[in-house]
Subunit: 468 residues, 2 copies
């Protein structure tokens, strides 16, 4: 942290702002930020892959058709779509694409997806530049872009940790509410905001923070994330002019932490900034559906491989689950792809029938497939309070009387059992191939892996264009 | 209300949507909507005047300088500024201008300013049109524009009444949170949304609703209102494509009324729609500052007129006030114009010294004027629980021992003592003259008064352009 002149008052909001504006992210091996940077590289890759994989979703077409007539000059790409628009609209549309597949990174302690909000915002302004003429930001390198992305993730996650679980429990979509502040500081850093302007950017973002949990499982869920990216960038652009908000926007009596939550833990918000990194705890989904379903899918894939049985031979499946599974993903009869992502029965059924749980398993078509629908009725959940959220136990019973069992101690993609770099690369390439083709997907994967060494971001943007 | 097919489920959100999409606003004398329409005409005039009067504020320049590089084709005017931009940016900037002088209409039961949010949104899309090419909306007349404006005001105010005072008390800036839904239905009506699309527009707006009370007294206060107008229009444009949200966005367990408030009163939200009109209770500020200060200003103007004494001759002023005055406007030493609008001491001092309390009394220069600053220290408030929010009692003591007293039973601009049409016209002309000149201001006033008879909105927009 930077020294604070003794005559200058400070506040939690200013402390966050100073970190965001001034912290020099060390790349020295063994430094506290080394692990965080390593995770930021993985989150960057994962979020970019999700953005590219989701870019051709029909909901993205609807969003773009509504906004295109009112959008600005073509300065920033809609990655994977072969289109360009202004930076603010690009942050919105790319942010939407990044989340629509439900395949994001997740900071498990808060359930925030820091990647899509921060990435969509930083890429848009990095390409469009503050003058909106596709001139980029002078002197911006891949390393500086990654630093800004990391700082944005860190601020979003710290805010989420600091305000505690009551916020989410009240019904807030926490990636929307905390993400907008992360996007503001990430883009504010790229725009070179000083500490005071950064604090005002945080304030403008804080008074733009929203997103209802009611939107989960529908088209507007990803809109919460999309809007957070755009409003964060909007806040940074406005603050850059000298427009002001409040230097106490987080902690004031009518500020973010009191109005949207029940106060905050100051140490969790601003303690050991630059030493302790929440961003280092980011995780990645191996399956594009509600994260609490992942241990069930792991277990179902295991028993399906053991048995080798087709769906028709399956008589009954018992799955022991953490209580949250039924709260968050209790749907038994999803009507479309979006609903299927929040259905324990659907997740188990496709894993058993298809021996896979990828993007193609959570489509509208798969949600109404009669074989899958029938198999869903044979999945029997048993809530087991002794299980962790990354644990499950699955028992498969075949019509011929055979039984197969699997117990999952730590689901793939959990903190203890993370996705490997190779698995993340494969996930990225599979997603990016959907809109870029395999060659560009592989090239882009290599470029993202070497983001720290990119002096010119132009080729990165060009390879991700799509629409070819 | 329209008949509901018996096989179609309904919800409070759908009921609101049906009213917004389908209610035919009657102009028959004596019909329940006649009084509401009369008030909508006054609110239209007042909001337009505030927009024109605030358009040259330096904060508007900052906002525009940040957004212009990323804005779309010049399809909608920034009224009073001689500039054009896209509809969404126009809704934002015009909404900001409308509120920056703190001279709005106020629905007293909720403290919502329904006018600026709804007016900025409807004017922007009415001029730009859904195709963003300044083609307007086919068939749109002044009467239809006024109907949409009225419906937007009504929905915003009903939502505020239904969620109760706890929402504001928690720290929400209620014009931001409820206003966005009003702007969505007002513009959704202009775009011809059917009931279901209107419900989705309400849902998208509800998940965009925000605005912190912490921003009061600073530049970002009006940003809350500006953003509500833009996000409401954004919601309607997106919903028009078939993009969906939730048909229960207001009432669901993780919906607007539960997440941002503590539930809602269904009868206050949707009871007697089209019969009982909250919009008919809108009021207008005679002075551009916190509304709780208005009875004090009335009283100070009275004793100043009685005494005829200059500021230097005033020894002591005692003002008896409702408790809220000190809670909301307790500042004794404001540092700039924005802070002065929330200072009981400043409001009394300028009324006594200048015998006026207009836009020129709440400027940065007046806030730091030494004569005013000295007089502020001689204003002594006494909280009196027996007073209503529209009451005050003022005692003026001169250095020569003379005393003058005034008691205000109902402040100018309250429901019981409303501003007359003539006073509103004068207010409009004074405000509009600031950016349009006196001739255009008078012409525009006449056009607004005859809004119901305008078949072509083009001349209205042209006369309000400014920048000439």
């Amino acid at each position: 942290m930077n020294a604070q002149p003794p005559d200058q008052p400070t506040t939690p909001t200013l402390d966050l702002a100073r970190f965001a504006a001034m912290h020099a992210v060390s790349r020295a091996p063994g430094s506290p930020s080394a692990a965080a940077l390593a995770e930021a590289r993985r989150a960057f890759l994962n979020s970019f892959g999700c953005m590219l994989g989701g870019a051709d979703d029909p909901a993205v077409d609807l969003l773009w058709s509504a906004l295109q007539p009112h959008a600005g000059a073509p300065a920033a790409r809609l990655f994977g779509r072969g289109q360009r628009t202004d930076a603010l609209t690009a942050a919105l549309v790319n942010g939407y694409s990044s989340n629509i597949l439900d395949f994001d990174d997740t900071h498990l302690a808060t359930v925030i997806h820091p990647g899509p909000v921060c990435l969509s915002a930083v890429l848009a302004i990095a390409e469009a530049g503050p003058d909106g003429r596709a001139n980029g930001i002078p002197g911006l390198t891949g390393a500086k872009l990654l630093d800004a992305f990391l700082i944005g993730m860190e601020v979003a996650c710290r805010l989420g940790v600091a305000i505690g679980h009551g916020h989410y429990a009240r019904g807030w979509h926490i990636t929307g509410t905390c993400g907008v502040v992360g996007a503001a500081v990430a883009t504010g850093r790229l725009l070179g905001l000083d500490t005071v302007k950064m604090a005002h950017a945080i304030g403008i973002a804080a008074t733009s923070a929203t997103g209802l949990g009611e939107m989960m499982g529908g088209m507007s869920k990803s809109y919460n994330i999309a809007r957070a990216g755009r409003e964060g960038l909007n806040a940074a652009l406005i603050a850059a002019t000298g427009f002001t908000s409040s230097l106490r926007a987080i902690e004031a009596p009518r500020g973010f932490a009191v109005v949207l939550a029940d106060g905050f833990d100051e140490d969790r918000l601003t303690g050991s900034l630059g030493e302790r990194w929440e961003a280092a705890l980011d995780t990645y989904k191996p399956y594009p559906c509600g994260i609490v379903l992942h241990p069930l899918i792991d277990g179902c894939l295991q028993v399906a491989a053991q048995s080798g049985a087709p769906a028709a031979a399956i008589e009954r499946v018992e799955v022991k689950v953490h209580p949250l599974v039924m709260v968050l993903t209790g749907r038994t009869d999803p009507k479309d792809g979006l609903e299927s992502k929040l259905s324990f029965a659907h997740a188990c059924a496709v894993a058993l029938a298809d021996r896979s749980a990828g993007v193609d398993q959570f489509t509208d078509a798969r949600a109404v497939d009669p074989v899958i629908a029938a198999l869903r009725t044979r999945i029997h959940p048993v809530v087991d309070e002794s299980l962790g959220t990354d644990q499950s136990a699955v028992t498969l019973m075949l019509a011929d009387g055979q039984r197969f069992e699997a117990r999952v101690e730590h689901a793939t993609g959990s903190v203890v059992n993370p996705m490997s770099d190779a698995a993340l690369d494969a996930k990225f390439i599979a997603l990016a191939t959907r809109t870029l083709g395999a060659d560009a997907a592989r090239t882009l994967c290599t470029m993202c892996r070497g983001i720290d060494d990119l002096d010119d971001l132009g080729p990165l943007f060009a390879h991700a264009a799509g629409g070819g």
